[in-house]
């Protein structure tokens, strides 16, 4: 092997280290045996380095590759899809280490390492992950540098320092490129995250579904209003409208269930003040977006369903930023089509006979829809209904009868479902709406943080002349839930986030911890809003704001200008000639001493030795003879001793002696004596 093809020991150590740090964040989604492959590969390569084992033969390699393919297939049930592909990539990464013999193998391995950083970003672009990946990139770059430092077999701090310095120098250039590089749409469709769980509210609601969300403290989305933040009690984030009741579960109408003529939302007469806000939603793997009614999208690529819910054609796989303008006072669908009316009145005929009979009875007493709504709500308030995160299990048959007349404890979805069933039984069009209610206001950046535990279900009733009216039966049972949020509503029960003892949300009472959490949340929002949520619109907006319109010429000028601004100082500091031989330390100190003497008129003559100079001073100024002799002896000792090294004890002594030496004071003393 050529000498420049060898991999120094140091580089091998850096490579193995970066291998493990790269795989670490993937641990949660790869099979356990892949980690075992990493340990095995590292152990094998170290044994090869020690000369105990040899590199694997062709057949061994083929066997390893085939068995890892088989392993991935058995672990995921397929090798197609994003997760299996990445697991395969990670396995190949480990196996490549075993056959790492030459520098060119090292290049393949390390470039693959950079790529693995990118695969991590497909799952999360959160700040901690990004910072961690930056560390990974530094380690991989260090390994790359170490491969080009032949003969270096000891750990050397300078290797990682150089890698870090180069990355730091590249960082400003990268930022310019990041904000200027044109964002184009996807070139072709790519494998999606098939194995990631859908999160948040689902399009299928059985009793108990939302209370499960109530136990999670993850952030569903964050909202920033352009004006004042409305009262949290009014923040009903509509996500899904569920009009169908089938087999005890509520679900929304599918696109193709609706006849073509009904697929477009009916125009709405907007009135009152508008709310403008921006939402950054965490990936849900679902289609719908949350908004306050009546919402009109202000970002491209968002559509409105006939029940006035916003959705996107593609599933939300990454954090997504969208802007909305809402008209809270607008009236929805003042006239109801026959088809709509039919849908919103549909009920399985034989289910829950007691509840439906009770509803009809109540309607006859009330005699008009509005009074009937109030009567049902009054029922919830007056009877012994209670609000709980852990409702008892309801029977398969006629669950609402059991809820209304026996258990009488439930979470929001129980109340919403029971309310809508009663409305429909009495002939009042009604539907369930699922989404979130409320949110935590972060005072640091005026955003509203909506958590999963804010998930909520309520009802909409169609009233003549008013259109769809929001009715929240939960507010009748537990006003605290709407006014103050879930934590207050569950105070007595003590069940708020009881399954997650480490959740920071539980410690909102500890002031400094809460401030820290809110600070971090504000940082996350800023990060998502400016970095991960940066898209074509934001780019266009930014360039327009900063450069007052964009043209190709300006683009090139800005790019070249900023790059030169960064690169020229780097080039200058790298290429400037340094002093060929900087003065040794002892000479520097002795020259200091000579300068001080020169200030008194004692200039050392050219060619005058240190000893001769010393003798001359001592004759003229006997008062400082001791000091001058000490300095001279020390200097000669360091300068002419073969084994003296800069920075050793004698040099330090000389330094101190020169620092102590104040000839002006001594002279003053001499004169006084004279």
């Amino acid at each position: 092997m050529k000498p420049d093809q060898q991999i120094p020991r140091n580089a091998l150590a850096w490579i193995i280290l970066s291998l493990f740090t790269l795989v670490a964040p993937h641990v949660e989604r790869i099979p356990f045996w892949v980690l075992a492959v990493y340990v095995f590969a590292a152990a094998w390569r170290i044994m090869v380095f020690r000369g105990r084992w040899s590199f694997p033969g062709r057949w061994v390699k083929a066997g390893l590759i085939i068995s890892s393919f088989a392993g991935i297939y058995f672990s995921y049930g397929s090798i197609i899809g994003l997760e299996p592909t990445i697991a395969l990539l990670l396995t190949a990464f480990a196996l490549k280490l075993i056959e790492l013999a030459q520098r060119k193998d090292g290049y393949v391995l390390l470039f693959l390492g950079y790529f693995i950083c990118i695969t991590e970003f497909l799952f999360s672009q959160d700040l901690p992950i990004v910072l961690y990946s930056l560390l990974n990139v530094t380690l991989v770059t260090t390994a790359l540098v170490a491969m080009h430092r032949p003969g270096e077999h000891q750990f050397n701090r300078k290797t990682i320092r150089l890698a870090a310095v180069m990355l730091l120098q590249a960082l400003p250039l990268m930022l310019v490129l990041f904000f200027l590089f044109p964002r184009i749409g996807p070139l072709w469709s790519v494998p999606i995250k098939s194995h990631t769980a859908k999160t948040g509210v689902s399009d299928f609601m059985r009793p108990g579904d939302i209370s499960r969300l109530g136990k999670s403290d993850e952030v569903a989305f964050r909202v920033q209003f352009e004006g004042d933040i409305p009262n949290p009690a009014d923040l009903y984030w509509r996500g899904l409208v569920m009009s169908r009741l089938e087999e005890g579960a509520w679900r929304s109408l599918r696109y193709f269930d609706v006849p073509a003529a009904e697929r477009r939302p009916r125009p709405v007469q907007t009135s009152g003040a508008a709310l403008d806000y921006q939402v950054i939603i965490a990936p849900t793997q679902q289609h719908w977006l949350y908004s306050l009614r009546y919402a009109t999208p202000a970002s491209p690529g968002i559509m409105t369903s006939p029940d006035y819910v916003l959705f996107t054609p593609a599933e939300i796989e990454d954090e997504r930023l969208y802007r909305v303008r809402s008209w809270p006072e607008a009236q929805l669908e003042l006239t109801l089509s026959d088809y709509r009316r039919g849908v919103e009145l549909q009920l399985p005929p034989t289910e829950n006979p007691a509840t439906t009979a009770f509803a009809r009875e109540l309607y006859e007493q009330a005699n008009n829809p509005r009074a009937f709504v109030d009567a049902v709500l009054a029922r919830f308030t007056q009877e012994a209904f209670s609000y709980t995160l852990n409702p008892p299990l309801l029977p398969e048959d006629n669950p609402l009868d059991a809820f209304m007349f026996q258990t009488r404890t439930g979470f929001c979805e129980h109340y919403a479902a029971a309310f809508v069933v009663m409305m429909r039984a009495a002939g009042v069009p009604a539907r369930v709406v699922a989404g979130y209610q409320g949110g935590e206001v972060n005072p640091l950046n005026r955003t509203v943080i909506v958590h999963q535990f804010d998930a909520h279900a309520w009802a909409e009733v169609w009233l003549d002349g008013e259109g769809w009216v929001r009715i929240d039966p939960t507010a009748s049972v537990s006003p605290d839930r709407i006014e103050w949020g879930l934590e207050r509503a569950l105070e007595k029960e003590g069940s708020f986030l009881s399954d997650s003892p480490l959740s920071l949300m539980r410690y909102r009472g500890v002031a400094w911890l809460n401030i820290l959490r809110l600070r971090y949340d504000a940082l996350t929002y800023r990060w998502q809003s400016w970095v991960t949520g940066f898209n074509r619109d934001r780019q266009f907006q930014l360039l327009n704001d900063v450069f007052d319109g964009i043209s190709a010429r300006k683009f090139v000028l800005v790019l070249i200008g900023t790059w030169l601004l960064v690169l020229l100082p780097i080039a200058f500091s790298l290429l400037r000639r340094r002093d060929k031989h900087p003065l040794p330390a002892q000479d520097k100190y002795y020259l200091q001493f000579c300068q001080r003497m020169a200030a008194l008129g004692f200039v050392r003559a050219p060619g005058e030795t240190a000893d001769a100079f010393c003798a001359r001073i001592c004759r003229a100024l006997p008062g400082m003879a001791t000091d001058v002799r000490e300095i001279t002896t020390l200097y000669c000792g360091v300068a002419y001793a073969a084994q003296a090294r800069p920075g050793d004890e004698a040099t330090q002594q000389l330094k101190r002696a020169v620092a102590r030496f104040r000839p002006a004071k001594v002279i003053g003393f001499d004169r006084q004596r004279a």
Partner: protein
Amino acid sequence: MPEHHRRTATRGIKHRMRRRFESWVNRRIPPARAVTLDQKRIFIFPSRTGLFFALCLLVMLTAAVNYQNNMSFALTFLLATLFIVGILHTYANLSGLTIRALRANPVFPGQHTEFAVQVERSGKREHFALHLKWPESTESLVNLCEQDTVQVQLHMPVGKRGWYSPGRLLLESTYPLGLLRSWTWIDLDLYAMVYPRPLPSTELPGLATDRPEGAAIPIAGSDDFYGFRDYRHGDSLRQIHWKGLARGQGVQTKQYGAYASRSVWLDWDMFPGLGTEQRLSHLCYWALEFEGRNEEYGLRLPGLVIEPGLGGRHRDRVLQALALYGVERRPQ
């Protein structure tokens, strides 16, 4: 034949281009015994690894575009700009180095000669993985970390008699990232002297009949005493002049007849009818032969006479005269 013509034509173009390139390099980096590398002398271009890296970046960019993933964009751009910054660092690894020609050992044809150069740094920056090589030579990989200078010996086979020019020394490095290769070709004005190939002839023609003037008659036998000289380390104890030592004359060694000198003239005209190179080869053989026999020999070439003598320095003089006979001066 058109095929043949075309081939010669392309070869002609190639040859001409190479000549033009060489003259361009010669103008840009003229030959010198010591060359300090600066902007004019350092070339830089992505290495093969760098091109592979660019390909990888393209794949990463495609992934970033297809997944619309901003952090992937950021990482791709970070690596792309690392490449840009790497240009400066790779360049700086050669910048400021001084390469000094030290020596080239004279050698016989077919043997390997040693060229020695010294690499010095200016300033305290560490330089790594400096790869030095002449077109035909062995290669060497050196670092400049603790010491300011490093000497490098490169070996290569030499060509025919005269001055052997190793061509331009290639100094290259891909440090620190391997993505870029910076290099320089320098002509260190360093030549190795190549002696004639020693060619034995059965006997020295004309030595007996046409004995050159001034040649000494060989002294037969090794028992005849002919003088004293000062004791040297290694002389046999039996040859020490013990009586003289006893008389206080210091330690002296008795010398015997085998070491007596005899002068032989090696003459250009000894080999009539042979070509120049063959004559020189025979002369070279006999010079080495007499040197081995410890017999004094002189050399007569047209226009050059070296008085008979013996010993390393004399031998070198004779061999040098033979090596450079007819070679006017160092090639330019």
